[in-house]
């Protein structure tokens, strides 16, 4: 379309992205600060990173978080994909309106409400709070995000692929396994990644759902942040940002490469 950006547009982009990224960049920079005073630059140092690795509490919390995120993301991906299939493939079934409401509501539901209600459920049914309850809570809200991601892929899915498979003799189940699932796989994978990071980042819901002995990393960070800004927390945060950024960028690069390869293939195919 239009090749050149107007001056107004450039200003909007520069200001907008500075606003988005400056705080994070500053946080990362000050994690390498020698000084204990976070806002006074005292020279470059990695001492806060090395002190992290002797902080048992943080390491334990990180381990809990990683396990919670892995388990809940995996279950949420299965449930979310099923929910997306139900919403796109079955245009009418009893209670569909309620179902789609329950899938979309958690996207905007204030976390305090979700957290409180889940906690009260766990108490009501007498489930001891800990690892399991955090996982259950995270599955519940992140499956909805997975459902939305997978659903948007399913909407653009060419149904004639499935019809072709059935026409060639595949039962609906085999069709799903051999045709539908491989085609929507990229969306399922990004749904998993989203669920993983949502679980990794969550503070509020985990605080309600957790019990003694199961403290996640965001909970640990939060309790230290309340005491003030320290370079050590900057370092933890930097590591978390790095993990997520590397993951997301790697996925994006893999996708981009695949697209480029695909375009090249298509050009070659057109020529002969």
């Amino acid at each position: 379309m239009q090749g050149q950006l107007s001056r107004f547009n450039i200003v909007a982009l520069v200001l907008g992205f500075s606003f988005l990224y400056l705080p994070i960049v500053l946080l990362v920079i000050y994690s390498f600060n020698e000084s204990r005073l976070v806002t006074v630059w005292g020279g470059f140092s990695t001492r806060w990173y090395s002190s992290l690795f002797s902080n048992r509490l943080l390491l334990d919390a990180a381990w809990v978080t990683a396990r919670v995120a892995f388990v809940s993301a995996t279950v949420a991906t299965v449930l979310g994909t099923l929910a997306a299939l139900a919403l796109t493939r079955y245009t009418r079934f009893r209670g569909r309106f309620l179902f789609s409401g329950m899938v979309f509501a958690p996207l905007v539901m204030p976390e305090v409400i979700t957290g409180l209600s889940l906690l009260l459920l766990f108490v009501a049914i007498g489930l001891d709070r800990g690892f399991l309850t955090i996982v259950l809570a995270h599955i519940t809200f992140s499956m909805c995000f997975v459902a939305v991601v997978v659903q948007s892929r399913l909407i653009s899915f060419d149904r004639s692929l499935e019809e072709a498979a059935m026409d060639l003799g595949a039962t609906p189940f085999r069709t799903f396994i051999h045709v539908t699932l491989p085609v929507i796989m990229p969306a399922v994978v990004s749904g998993w990644m989203l669920a993983f990071t949502l679980s990794l980042d969550d503070l509020v819901i985990a605080s309600f759902a957790s019990g003694p002995g199961a403290t996640t990393l965001p909970m640990r960070i939060y309790s230290q942040v309340r005491l003030g800004v320290t370079p050590e927390i900057n370092a933890v945060c930097t590591l978390l940002i790095a993990v997520v950024t590397v993951g997301v960028l790697a996925a994006a690069i893999v996708n981009k490469r695949r697209d480029i390869q695909r375009q090249r293939d298509e050009q070659v195919a057109q020529r002969g």
Binding site: I24, L26, L27, F99, V112, I113, L116, V229, T245
Partner: protein, 323 residues
């Protein structure tokens, strides 16, 4: 059965047993696709609300759990009706009586509204500029908007503490430039909350806006200009009205969660700032008053039900259009 007769008719219809089993399996599985996530959400999303509602009408006790009457699944329906008689609206009356709660609701909605407005003000030009960027740049820009969304909410809010506090980087910078000579008190004020909300929820504003603006046919604007409309007028008469679905979606995506926000007012706001998410948290974890916390949640939910249904309808309509 017609399936059996089909199988005997040769051709490329494969022999009976295996495919027949496959059909039944498929039928069961296709039911499970709906039933499993449905049940999960009923039990872990809807049922908890019913419990919240019920407990919001219970009395506070000093015990574990700290409320009465307690649910007992074994007691059955009779006990349920018995329980129902013990329910009271006392906690709600308490909320109405105490101006603290009323003010907290009002100020939550106000703060969320103001923040949503500023998010739109910052987000619209960004989304507009992105949609006008050369298509080779667009994917990269989109990635840049999405990336912060993937990083932890808590970390992004935390990052602002170091910037906003009196001896923080913003004040250091302003003092150094010479615009001010005494540090500004931004931390622990509503301004800090506005900044925090706009910052945290900006991607939610930009993404739906970008989605509608990107689909907008640029030749419409060219046509408007061709028919004698100057660029600014063309924007207000063509671009903006056509982008309204994105504006609505973006505003709802920011406003709804912002009303119930806890982390931002807790970390950036002052002790005088009342927001309902924080009040709920305090009632629950600080005062251990579960029934009142539940009543607070029920009313918050009632406030948000209308915008949420609005959001869901907009979502459903957008989906219909894509089909």
């Amino acid at each position: 059965m017609s399936q059996a007769s089909a199988a005997t008719r040769g051709g490329n219809v494969s022999a009976g047993q295996k495919t027949n089993g496959g059909t039944i399996l498929s039928a069961i599985l296709s039911r499970l696709v709906i039933i499993v996530p449905y049940l999960w959400l009923l039990v872990l999303f809807l049922a908890p609300f019913a419990i919240v509602f019920k407990i919001s009408m219970s009395e506070t006790t000093i015990a574990m759990p700290p409320y009465r009457p307690v649910f007992d699944w074994a007691d059955g329906l009779a006990a349920f009706w018995g329980n129902l008689k013990q329910l009271s609206l006392e906690n709600y009356l308490w909320l109405v009586d105490d101006p603290l709660y009323f003010n907290a609701y009002i100020s939550s909605v106000t703060i969320a509204g103001i923040s949503t407005f500023f998010a739109l003000l910052v987000g619209y030009p960004m989304a507009y500029a992105m949609s006008r960027a050369p298509s080779s740049m667009r994917m990269g820009l989109l990635m840049l908007v999405i990336l912060p969304f993937w990083t932890s909410f808590l970390i992004r809010v935390y990052a602002w503490i170091g910037i906003l506090k009196p001896e923080g980087l913003l004040n250091q910078f302003l003092l150094w430039v010479g615009i001010i000579d005494t540090p500004l008190q931004i931390m622990n004020t509503n301004t800090a909350i506005y900044i925090g909300i706009v910052y945290s929820y900006l991607p939610f504003m930009v993404l739906p806006l970008y989605a509608t603006l990107e689909k907008l046919d640029y030749s419409l604007i060219e046509a408007a200009q061709d028919l004698g409309s100057p660029p600014i007028a063309a924007f207000w008469k063509i671009t903006f009205p056509l982008s309204l679905p994105g504006v609505v979606a973006g505003c709802l995506l920011v406003f709804i969660p912002a009303v119930g926000e806890f982390v931002i007012p807790d970390l950036l706001g002052g002790s005088t700032t009342l927001m309902i998410g924080k009040t709920l948290w305090t009632e629950f974890f600080g005062n251990r008053d579960w029934p009142v916390a539940s009543a607070v949640a029920v009313i918050l939910l009632l406030i948000l039900v209308v915008p949420m249904m609005f959001f869901q309808r907009a979502q459903a309509r957008a989906q219909e259009q894509e089909r």
